[in-house]
């Protein structure tokens, strides 16, 4: 069976479209709302959704997702409960779902058990921001056995490492737009032509760009460089503002992003 991520990108490619990947922190403000948000975002045009697993010390996140993690943890969210939510979501959608999470959460849960449960509940891939390519052996065996893809990341500072990483990637390659942590940016200083030029020379799978993309204009511009855009903190900000009532607002925002990249 073809991985849901591969199928998603293939279908989009056939339609001449780019992927919209959105992010929410699981359990912010609660897991019931997370379920509603995921279904609403899929309904309004998200092609792939990342569920952030809250961590006490999210070193790759800016303040917006740090606060979301804290809200979620304070509500008692844990991985077991998130898997229950995934199970419920999977009854209603067949679109790709990813986890974005820190390696310690996987390690302490038990790497083999974690990947088996991802497969069982229908998680298609994991993004681990504190596990660089060189440390992939921590998860590789179980990721390959379960078919749950480990998504590699490259950054503008990856320079000479891009070749090795991009040519050994599956699902999609997560291209970090600029140095720094997650969160909205008013402008980018990265030379994208050069960055994506190098990436495309070696990439064996579709490429999506994330970090700092917060509005339809930026999404449109960034989607011109690659196969998809990832929007996280801008969604989480709406949830922070309106909590359980954020679902329609988030839906509208996702629709505006989708319209942006479809133009």
């Amino acid at each position: 069976m073809m991985n849901r991520i591969d199928k998603c990108f293939e279908d989009l490619k056939n339609q001449g479209k780019k992927a919209l990947i959105t992010f929410v922190t699981a359990g912010d403000p609660d897991l019931e709302t997370t379920e509603k948000l995921v279904l609403e975002m899929f309904d309004k045009g998200a092609d792939i959704i990342e569920l952030g697993i809250p961590f006490s010390d999210p070193i790759a996140e800016g303040v917006t997702i740090q606060r979301a993690s804290l809200r979620s943890l304070n509500n008692g969210t844990n991985l077991t409960k998130v898997f229950d939510t995934v199970k419920r979501i999977r009854e209603k959608t067949d679109k790709p779902l990813l986890f974005m999470m820190y390696l310690n959460t996987i390690y302490v849960y038990g790497t083999e058990r974690f990947f088996n449960e991802c497969k069982e509940y229908g998680i298609d891939g994991v993004i681990i921001p504190d596990m660089p390519y060189e440390e992939r052996d921590e998860v590789l065996e179980y990721s390959e056995k379960s078919g749950v893809v480990n998504i590699n990341l490259v950054a503008p500072t990856s320079h000479g490492r891009i070749k090795e990483i991009a040519s050994n990637s599956k699902g999609f390659l997560y291209c970090v737009s600029s140095t720094g942590v997650t969160g909205t940016r008013s402008s980018f200083t990265t030379n994208f032509d050069e960055f994506f030029g190098t990436i495309k020379q070696y990439a064996t799978c579709p490429c999506a760009v994330g970090f700092g993309i917060s509005n339809p204009e930026q999404a449109k511009k960034m989607s011109s460089y690659c196969d998809g855009v990832i929007v996280g903190s801008a969604v989480v900000k709406l949830i922070e503002k309106s909590g359980r009532d954020s679902v329609p607002e988030v839906g509208e925002f996702v629709k505006s992003l989708k319209d942006g990249i479809s133009q």
Binding site: S56, D57, P58, I59, A60, L73, T105, Y109, E134, T157
Partner: protein, 395 residues
């Protein structure tokens, strides 16, 4: 591709992709300079003429008689410039950063000793300096905050998380990921991604090397026991390293038990922790069943960390070193004891080592020798200890 040296299963390079190139650049630079005669000569000169090395090895005669067991020597790292062992590491790293052409230094600090040492050496070498400090620590060590500012450093209080050392490290890592092209991260302990644990140990191992040489001169033999406090573990690694191959030398690390290693108010990582992956390394951490890093507590801001350097995890696992948990109360008693007994006020961190020594020395023979590493001086802790004892003094 780099060759990452591990300590058994412990260590590694678990950092975001954005800083991986910087980590590799550091590996290359450290490989190039660590055995470079010119670099070593410059560092030795700084150790001698700026930091005041070698630090004294002092025979604590009154304490020896009082405890009635092993002959006790104190390694006086408290007499170094800036008042602790931290200067050894900082001189090495910032000299290296300078060779690498870096202009901006960032650091984390708990008690403020590493922050003060970093601010000091940045002043000396003309570097821009920014120190991250948890807001709780900044409050309990406000004098050190002012000291760093006096030295020309920016001090950024970190409000996130528990407002202590781990949060300062989180924020320093975020800064590094943002400003990686021009910034050098000067980590204060034997932790973080490779090559930091090895490199910081190498800059601190002079402590043990001096102990060995000084004791040979005074006693003509090796010590039987070396005791040091352990937070991340840099002064202990520095004191232990040269003795690891000398199997007759017992190595004892004193970690912060807080209100007791069997309570939630503790920072006793070895006693209570489990293996995890955090802050760039696989090591032992205090965490819950889902891998959330635990809030930790100790009277000592410098030991108030939920992890331990990977080499200590390895020394523990292999049984080469023993680790004991010392409570706040025991540490404060030892702080007062050394002050009255020898006229030496130790840092409250180092007082944990003194407390462990007070327990162990009487069980040893009079012909045996114990060395306690007094990693820092206690001036910074007088207010805190007074408050602990319920005495009102002006901060």
């Amino acid at each position: 591709m780099s060759k990452v040296e591990k300590f058994g299963e412990f260590g590694g390079q678990f950092v975001p992709e954005t800083v991986m190139n910087a980590v590799h650049e550091l590996e290359d630079a450290y490989d190039k300079y660590k055995d470079d005669p010119q670099f070593k000569a410059e560092l030795t000169e700084l150790y001698k003429d700026y930091a005041g090395r070698p630090s004294l090895l002092y025979y604590a005669e009154k304490m020896t008689k009082d405890l009635g067991g092993a002959k006790i020597y104190l390694k006086r790292e408290d007499l170094n410039h800036t008042g602790s062992h931290k200067i050894n590491n900082v001189l090495g790293q910032i000299l290296l950063a300078k060779k690498m052409g870096k202009k901006r230094i960032i650091a984390e600090t708990g008690a403020g000793q590493h922050g003060v040492a970093t601010a000091t050496v940045c002043a000396l070498m003309g570097m821009e300096c920014c120190v991250y400090m948890g807001c709780v620590d900044a409050e309990r060590q406000s004098l050190n905050v002012y000291r760093m500012k006096l030295l020309g450093s920016d001090v950024v209080p970190v409000e996130s998380g528990t407002g202590t050392l781990k949060d300062a490290i989180n924020e320093a890592l975020r800064d590094w990921a943002t400003n990686v092209e021009n910034t050098y991260y000067c980590i204060g302990s034997v932790m973080g991604p490779y090559p930091y644990p090895q490199m910081v140990r190498d800059f601190q191992k002079i402590i043990g090397e001096e102990i060995k040489a000084q004791l040979k001169e005074k006693e003509g033999k090796l010590p039987d026991c070396v005791v040091a406090c352990v937070g991340g573990g840099s002064n202990a690694m520095g004191a232990f390293y040269d003795f690891i191959g000398d199997k007759s030398v017992r190595l004892v690390g004193a970690e912060a038990g807080g209100e007791g290693a069997d309570t939630e108010r503790t920072a006793a990582t070895i006693a209570r922790g489990t293996t995890g992956i955090f802050h760039g390394m696989k090591s032992i951490f205090l965490q819950d069943q889902y891998g959330q890093i635990a809030p930790v507590y100790s009277i000592s801001a410098g030991l108030d960390y939920p992890g331990i350097g990977p080499e200590h995890a390895y020394l523990h696992e292999t049984g080469r070193a023993d680790y004991v948990a010392i409570t706040d109360e025991e540490a404060v008693c030892a702080f007062e004891y050394l002050s009255k007994m020898e006229g030496i006020i130790p840092a409250v961190e180092s007082a944990h080592a003194v407390a462990a020594a007070i327990k162990i020395a009487p069980t040893m023979g009079k012909d045996q020798i114990m060395v306690i590493n007094i990693s820092g001086r206690g001036d910074k802790d007088v207010y805190q200890v007074a408050r602990y004892r319920g005495v009102e003094v002006q901060n």
